[in-house]
Structures are given as C-alpha cells and as structure tokens.
C-alpha cells in the first residue's frame, strides 16, 4: 500500500492533468479554461497494486478510455478527491457458509468496493462518482417481489485481522455478530448497508467503515443492527474521510433477520 493518500484537495493549474492509476485502471482529470475533461479507463480484473497519483506518462490509454466533458464558466483550481462507499448496500457472500453456534459471538471483517469521487471547490459540484471496479448487481430480499437491489461480492469474511489484505480500493467493515438464540445462526450472505456508514482512514491510509454489531436475541425472527458512532478500534489513529451517502440519525435499527442474513 502506498504511503501517500490518493485523496484530498488537489490544485490544478490550467491545462494540467492528473491521473489516478491502479494497475491499468486509470482515471484522468484535466483542467481547461472553461471545462474539465475526464478519462475513465476500466479494466476487467481487479488489481491489488498500490494507487499511483501523478502525471500520465504516455497518452496511449486515453484513446480507449471513456471521455467526459464538464462545462463551467471559469474553472476553479481546486478539486476535492474523496473515496466513497458504494451507492447501494453490498451483499457479501462468504466462500463457505459460516455457522455461529448458539450463545456465541464473532467479529467478521468484510471488505467492500470504493468509489472515486471528485468535487469542485468551493461549491462542491460533483465531477465524478464512479467505482474502481463496479460490482455485479444482486437482489436481496425474502422474495422476488420484496427486497432491494444491491451489489454482490464474494468475500473471505476474515475473522483474523492479520489475514486481511489491505487494498487502496477497498474499505473494511468490522461486523460483530452475537447469537443469543438457542439455535445456531448460519450466515450464507450478509447485507452490509454501506450507504449508512462513515468512512475512515487509519495511519497507513487503509480505509475502514463504521463498525456494525448484529444482535440476535432469543426471539425467533428479530435481529438488532447497531451502527457504531466511532471508527473501529482496529483502525489506529483514524481520521474521518467521508460521511454516509444516506444521512440517518438512528444508530439502532431493528430489522427482521431475513433482511440481514440469508
């Protein structure tokens, strides 16, 4: 992981361009007098290489990239680049179903994809809001009539912090699951409501989200979902990077078990 953060406030002089590169995945921004130009070069396979921010060495990839033009009467020189969590909930599916025995608790770590957002200073007009790698669509709900459109993602659902791969385009969500029911809880899929979570960066610039804790009581079908108010304890010397996409004052939500696990 690179030591320098790829987000923050960037100053662009006229005709200057900057690019953010993760392997071959490239996003380029260029400032002109009356417009901003962007080039978005997507790739099929995810890269775990560190993010490189700088000038583009050659313009070979620009021809294949998706081009965008954003007009302004006079372009401002400052752009705020931020990582954002996905714009829908992410359904994480562990490689193998997990079974939490009755009366037990566990802390899982699920990583979810990050979006690249660029906003113009000082008004905050959105220039770009796009994923580094767009996850596949999925449906999460008790039936094909009731539910919500989410993103799908396979996850190893680590339970050891040391096993987590730290990647610049992923954020890690710690999920504590407490099973106070007298039956084991089988977790085949977990719905991570990332639109409600804050995003933090630790001292190594690894991204973390607000932690969640899921409490399954003795009642048959109810779970309580608590969203923590602070950064997770695993994120050392963390700083707040971005607020949730959907503002909610509630930290405790009560949902049916089928809306969180399947």
């Amino acid at each position: 992981m690179a030591n320098n953060a790829w987000w923050g406030e960037f100053t662009f002089s006229l005709q200057q361009q900057r690019c953010w590169q993760l392997g071959e995945r490239t996003i380029i921004l260029k400032r002109l007098e009356n417009e901003w130009n962007s080039w978005n070069l997507e790739t099929d396979t995810e890269s775990d290489e560190p993010m490189v921010v700088g000038e583009l060495d050659d313009n070979c990839c620009i021809e294949q990239a998706k081009f965008g033009r954003y007009l302004q009467q006079h372009t401002s020189e400052k752009v705020q680049v931020l990582p954002l969590l996905a714009d829908r909930s992410v359904v994480a599916r562990p490689d193998t179903p997990l079974t939490l025995l009755a009366g037990e608790k566990a802390r899982l770590y699920v990583s979810t994809p990050i979006w690249f957002s660029a906003k113009l200073e000082p008004k905050g007009e959105c220039l770009l809001d796009l994923p580094f790698w767009r996850p596949s669509d999925s449906w999460f709900g008790p039936s094909t009539r009731v539910g919500q459109i989410c993103y799908a993602k396979y996850t190893a659902a680590r339970i050891q912090l040391t096993n987590i791969e730290k990647r610049p385009h992923r954020a890690i969500t710690p999920i504590s699951v407490i099973n106070n029911h007298d039956q084991p809880l089988t977790i085949e899929r977990i719905n991570v409501p990332v639109t409600l979570l804050h995003l933090y960066a630790d001292e190594e610039h690894q991204l973390w989200t607000t932690g969640m804790s899921v409490h399954r009581g003795s009642h048959v079908d109810n779970v309580e979902l608590h969203l923590d108010k602070h950064a997770p304890v695993e994120a050392l010397s963390s700083t707040l990077i971005s607020n949730p996409r959907v503002a909610t004052g509630q930290s405790i939500l009560i949902r049916s078990i089928s809306s969180l696990f399947a």
Partner: protein, 288 residues
C-alpha cells in the same frame, strides 16, 4: 332608473332569473371544482404516484360538481326526489340504449379501484405492449414503443389478460439455446454460468437457472434463465446472447440449425448433392 328596477323585478318574477342564477352557480362551481382539485393535487404531488394524483383530482372534481349541480337544480326549484325517481327510469332506458358505454364506465371504476396497473406502467394487452398514459372512465390510453397512441375500452381490459411488466423491480430473461448432440452438457453449463457471473447487470441472486428442456430435432435444447433489474432487461438479453455466441465460438461449441436431407423413399439412398459451376469456370472436385 325606474325602468331598470322594474326590469329586475320582472326578471325576478320570471323563471329566467332563477335559471340565470343556477347557471351562474354551476359555472362558478365548475371553476371552483377545477381550482380546488388542482390545488389539492399540487400540495400532495410529491407524496403520490401519477395514478393516485389523477384519481384524487377526479374524485374531488366530480364530488364538488355533483354538489354544485344539486344546489343549482334546487335553486331552479326542481324537486330532487322527483328527479331521482325520474332518473331511475331514465337510467334503465339509458342503460339499454348505451350498454357498451355503461359497461366501460363500470369497468373503468373497477380498474381504478383494483389498480392492476398505474399510469407510467408498461402493460401488455393481447398483442399490444405500451406505456399507460391515461386511465379514463371509458378507456385506457397507451403509447406503444413505436410511438403510436392506442385506446383500449375498459371493458376489453377487464375481460382480457393484462400483463403489467413494470410491477416488480426485477425480471427474468429466459434464454433459449441449442447445442449440438456431440457437445459436453456439463462444460456448456459451466460456460454459461461463468458468462452470467461476469456480466455485471446479471443479478447474482436470484441465481441463474440452467434447464435442459429436451432433445430437439437438431439440437439439445437448453433454457438458461438469468435475472436483471427491469430497466436492464433488454440490455441483459442482448449482452448475454452476444457473450454466449462469442464464448461458444471460442470454445468450439456448435450451435446447430435444422439439417435437411433429401430422401426419395425407403428403398433408396439420399440423393447425392453436387454443385454445378458456371460456364467458363474450372470443374470442381465434386464433378470429377
């Protein structure tokens, strides 16, 4: 001045004054009903669907109009109890005379209450598919995707099977495929599942379904069903068929088409097929 007063007195004494008053009341009531129904809909606009807005607007408008009409008739001096009796007889007569319209009217009320579809929904009635642009008392109006205006009487809507294509957020696309008899079915299944997994608009859940539908005359028939958001339905179908063709070509999996051989009867072999070249060209191997 005296003449004017005398004229007004004359008017008051005659039915003309009452009639004018009733007419004025009706016109004011009509405008008032229009204004009130529009104002109420404007207030609740953001909380209701287009269908709900239309229903609310019409309910308010017609309720006020009925009250105003009753008031106007009362002003003229018409006894409403007699009128209602007459209306009963008139309705029977009218009912016989305008069965179709009455049937459409009642069907329209049922459609509004039952709400099998709303304005902006895409529906299919018989062979007509289009977006609902209006649900009126006598008919439903559609805009087809080739931009035609279609009016379907409400009675037909009640009697026919209506498919609402935009009722649920996700839809399943059933892809019909055929592979040659020599192909490995398990390999084909894996290729198809892999294509679905890589397609971003193909929903991971509900999972794709692979069904062998039978042994056809020229191919092993397969139904591969994949889910998408309803907005992406056509895009998914197109992209899946394109990717399947590409993957089958790459993997050397044959997509067969019906083979026809000429046969003259039970005792003879099939006709030999040979090609005939144009004059001036060399004789090919088939003619040697």
């Amino acid at each position: 001045m005296k003449d004017i007063v005398a004229f007004i007195e004359l008017l008051k004494a005659s039915h003309l004054f009452a009639l004018s008053q009733a007419l004025l009341l009706f016109i004011i009531g009509f405008i008032f009903a229009r204004l009130i129904s529009s104002a109420v809909v404007k207030i609740v606009k953001h909380k209701m669907t287009a269908h709900g807005q239309l229903f609310l607007k019409r309910s308010i408008f017609y309720s006020i109009l009925v009250l105003v009409t009753i008031s106007a008739l009362d002003n003229v001096g018409i006894d409403l109890s007699i009128l209602l009796g007459a209306a009963g007889i008139f309705t029977v007569a009218l009912g016989f005379a305008s069965q179709t319209s009455a049937s459409n009217l009642i069907s329209g009320l049922f459609l509004m209450i039952e709400r099998p579809f709303s304005i902006t929904d895409v529906i299919k009635v018989n062979d007509i598919t289009g977006e609902v642009i209006s649900i009126d008392l006598l008919s439903v109006k559609l805009r087809t995707f080739d931009n035609l205006f279609v009016r379907i009487p409400n009675e037909s809507m009640i009697k026919s099977a209506v498919t609402t294509m935009t009722k649920y957020p996700i839809r399943r696309a059933d892809l019909k495929l055929g592979i040659a008899y020599k192909e490995d079915i398990e390999k084909v299944r894996k290729i198809l599942l892999d294509i679905a997994a890589k397609n971003l608009i193909c929903l991971e859940e509900p999972a794709p379904v692979f069904i062998l539908t039978g042994f056809g005359s020229s191919s092993i028939d397969i139904q591969f069903s994949v889910w998408a958001r309803r907005e992406n339905f056509l895009a998914l179908k197109n992209s899946m068929y394109t990717e399947i063709k590409k993957a089958f070509d790459q993997q050397g999996i044959e997509i067969p088409f019906p083979h026809v051989s000429l046969y003259a009867g039970t005792a003879t072999k099939p006709f030999p097929v040979a090609t005939t070249l144009d004059k001036g060209t060399e004789i090919g191997d088939s003619e040697k």
